[in-house]
Symmetry: C2
DNA sequence: CACCACCGTTTACGTATGTAAGCGGACTCA
DNA sequence: TGAGTCCGCTTACATACGTAAACGGTGGTG
């Protein structure tokens, strides 16, 4: 089953640092999301069911650790978008942003560098 | 409200050609999705409520036309993904695909061309 | 004019999601 | 040892979504 939007917020916290307790997660995410404790706990339980995180006992509480790697999640999501909207290819997506004038100087510089590296690798 | 996955399939049909009747939409999408007629009708009604399409009478039936431009939808979806996963910037996304070896020759060639064009524009 | 076919609208229903309150067991402190 | 506290687990509830059946009006046909 897919990781939902709200669940992914919890995952992001765990990807930044793990293991973490529910309380720590709430502390990090609560202010921005305005969530109650019960909300975080529910999300953690759903993530457990989905095997996206594991829990290990630490005294009276649990510490949660991601089982799903961020890298993998990012790949799935990105591929999904690309397939749905850009015929599965990267260039049209970049072209789209370019047309929308959404490429920053920094983006352009980094893309140049990236292509150069790919070029160097070639030989 | 957001356009759902199933709804976007109907939108894609209408973006390819519009206006179209429910029947025509079903004909184009039914085989691939294995949907019944009622399903397409529900999706169209939800899209109407969301103001993503409009309907105009054509004799005893309606013809549906997108109100939401594909360009705009694509922008929203892409920006959403970028913001959620790549800190809102394009280069890291491309880098991700590069690391995953998901850039095709064609992608690379097109990216090169794109950058060159941006460069030319500059002067 | 009565009936059927066609097409949109209404209703349905199970699951997912966002958001959380309530329950119950274990640990602690008086 | 009885009461309070902390924490996970269970339950709740409204909305969204996927999927579709049932209903109802309108125009054509015999």
């Amino acid at each position: 089953m897919a990781i939902s939007e709200a669940e992914s917020v919890v995952m992001e916290v765990l990807w930044r640092a793990a293991p973490r307790s529910a309380e720590e997660i709430l502390a990090e995410v609560g202010p921005a999301q305005d969530w109650q404790e019960g909300t975080v706990k529910s999300l953690l339980n759903r993530l457990l069911k989905k095997k996206a995180v594991k829990a290990e006992r630490d005294g009276r509480r649990y510490l949660y650790t991601p089982l799903l790697a961020r890298e993998k999640y990012v790949s799935q999501e990105s591929k999904g978008l690309l397939d749905r909207l850009f015929d599965g290819r990267v260039a049209p997506l970049v072209a789209h942003f370019s047309e929308q004038r959404k490429l920053t100087k920094k983006d352009i510089a980094e893309l140049r560098k990236l292509l150069k590296e790919l070029d160097d690798e070639q030989h």
